[in-house]
Symmetry: C2
Subunit: 369 residues, 2 copies
Amino acid sequence: MIKVAEHWDKGIVDLATEAGLKALEDANSKNIDYLIISNMSSIFNNRQGNLAIAIADNMGLTGVPTYRVDAACGSGGSAIHLAYSIVKSTGKRVLVIGVEKLSDAITTVNTSSMMLAEDWSTGLVSGGTFVSLNALALRYYLDKYNADHDKIMMLPVIEHKNAMTNPFAQFHREITLDAVKKSPYVADPLHLLECSAYGDGAAAVVLENMQGDVEIIASEVATDAFRIANRDNPARFNAVFEAAKRAYMKSGISHRDIDVLEVHDAFSITGVIALEELGFADIGEGWKMISEDKIGLSGEIPTNTFGGLKARGHPVGATGVYQIAEITLQLRGDAGSNQVENARIGLTENIGGIATTAAVHVLRKREMM
Amino acid sequence: MIKVAEHWDKGIVDLATEAGLKALEDANSKNIDYLIISNMSSIFNNRQGNLAIAIADNMGLTGVPTYRVDAACGSGGSAIHLAYSIVKSTGKRVLVIGVEKLSDAITTVNTSSMMLAEDWSTGLVSGGTFVSLNALALRYYLDKYNADHDKIMMLPVIEHKNAMTNPFAQFHREITLDAVKKSPYVADPLHLLECSAYGDGAAAVVLENMQGDVEIIASEVATDAFRIANRDNPARFNAVFEAAKRAYMKSGISHRDIDVLEVHDAFSITGVIALEELGFADIGEGWKMISEDKIGLSGEIPTNTFGGLKARGHPVGATGVYQIAEITLQLRGDAGSNQVENARIGLTENIGGIATTAAVHVLRKREMM
């Protein structure tokens, strides 16, 4: 991983290369058969329409088959899933690099590029931006389940605390519940400090067959209706539920076996809903879990242990790869001050759009014989 | 396939849906486990940043894992290659839809989006557009091999003739060598009628394990240096050579076994170089093959039998999928007036950038027992 930040001094290819070379060094080999780049907006924000090749070339990986994979904010998890398929079918060694560089574009271009993960033709033209739709989901959730918004706003508080000791996090600053409550509304009832911020970043992993100290024991992707208006309950993420259900079935485990968790908290509410869809809380009860003793580093199910999208940062196409890298550190016992004790099984949940796409991965520490 | 044209009355999701539903009908089932969309520029030209989900939703395929795959003009072949990996590793049924809609954007935006397949940071800023770089490759080729440009200009003539009886072709108009020679230079020495035109289009195929009347017996992708200036010989496509070499090895055939061929003639010169890299001519001798008796419908190796990129059209991210669909028609004996007699084995060559990516597929008619 590289630090999530505004990298004004580097280009998108530089960021990806830096993360990619770190991953190759970690894997102790430069021998790669495949390169998959996960990224949402390079042709739009960086004027780079052939990104995968540009990165391969810059890394000295010329000749290696390479593509860019995109499923909006779910690009990272989707790319890992595709890489997993390739490794399984070919036995080959795949390098996945997630990268996003938003700071090349002025803020308005940037904001509009992220909005394009929603439906332009029906939603955006009527003001249904990403933020406003998530705010509506939050309002619906609060009303329907009589949930305590204060509890939900504890999610960014806990995450900012975890990020303090993560060298790669975007924000190294603790925040209080009071600060979240007093931060301005971006779209009522969603406060500024409940929303992940723009940031540049890159993360990379090497996948290969039956190697390494961590194994992926389930890799599942599911999708939902594009428009949130076409769903029965806008506060349910069916795609997450489906992907998780299949992942638990494939790996033969249940949510009770998970020791460490990464959920996609692009907004506080999406993190809360994820906890429910993954099975950690009943539907409508996820908000009750948002406290140190439940999801903190020493809690029942340590969640977003490096700060999550809110505090580690959310470099769109890279986010799902950061999650995999972070769980890998936890399972290796290399998480330093952020280490979850005896972490053996971890789960990542990465979504694109408002959970139009969900990628769920279950990782397990490979026990040495 | 749908007809390549300027589809002013339809959106990108409509085009993809139309092709996708035709493919499902052809496969006689709506049961799809995976959807892969190949497309280069939707976030740029169509303001659609979550294209795969938009299409899945519109087709009634909600729930199915889906992504967009991109390798510039080589997106189609790359998507087929990924689908092939997924089918092999999971046994699942994959629908691949290639789609591009260029007519939503004004011509200048459009032109610049296609240029973005080249390197913005070094090439484009100094005038190295897609067309100018291919023109330089053509000039280099003509000089180095003392090639006859008139022979090369026969490629669009033969292709336009083939397209006359292809209902899905962009151009239904025969052209003469004289017309090509008199057409204006786009970039000296490249004439307008040596260049593929902008067009909207969509094509789709269903891939599944051990089913159907046509099988893919090799699927290979290779890459080359991003910048043509960094290659020893700008008139060599190493990525095509590499992908073809591996494809021949995997399938146990040689170029002599190929009955029908689709090459990526984004420009006349790229079609000629492809013939060499695929083994049909020695390096520097491909131009001698451009005649009816060699590559015509009844020639030694019938090439671009439905018109190729020049006359069928080149809807960027869809092109590689059109090629697979066309070879499939040939091997099934369903090519109508364009049928190549006794076609049993076909090959497709699809490139992205100036052959920065090359995807080569070998398809074989499955003999019924």
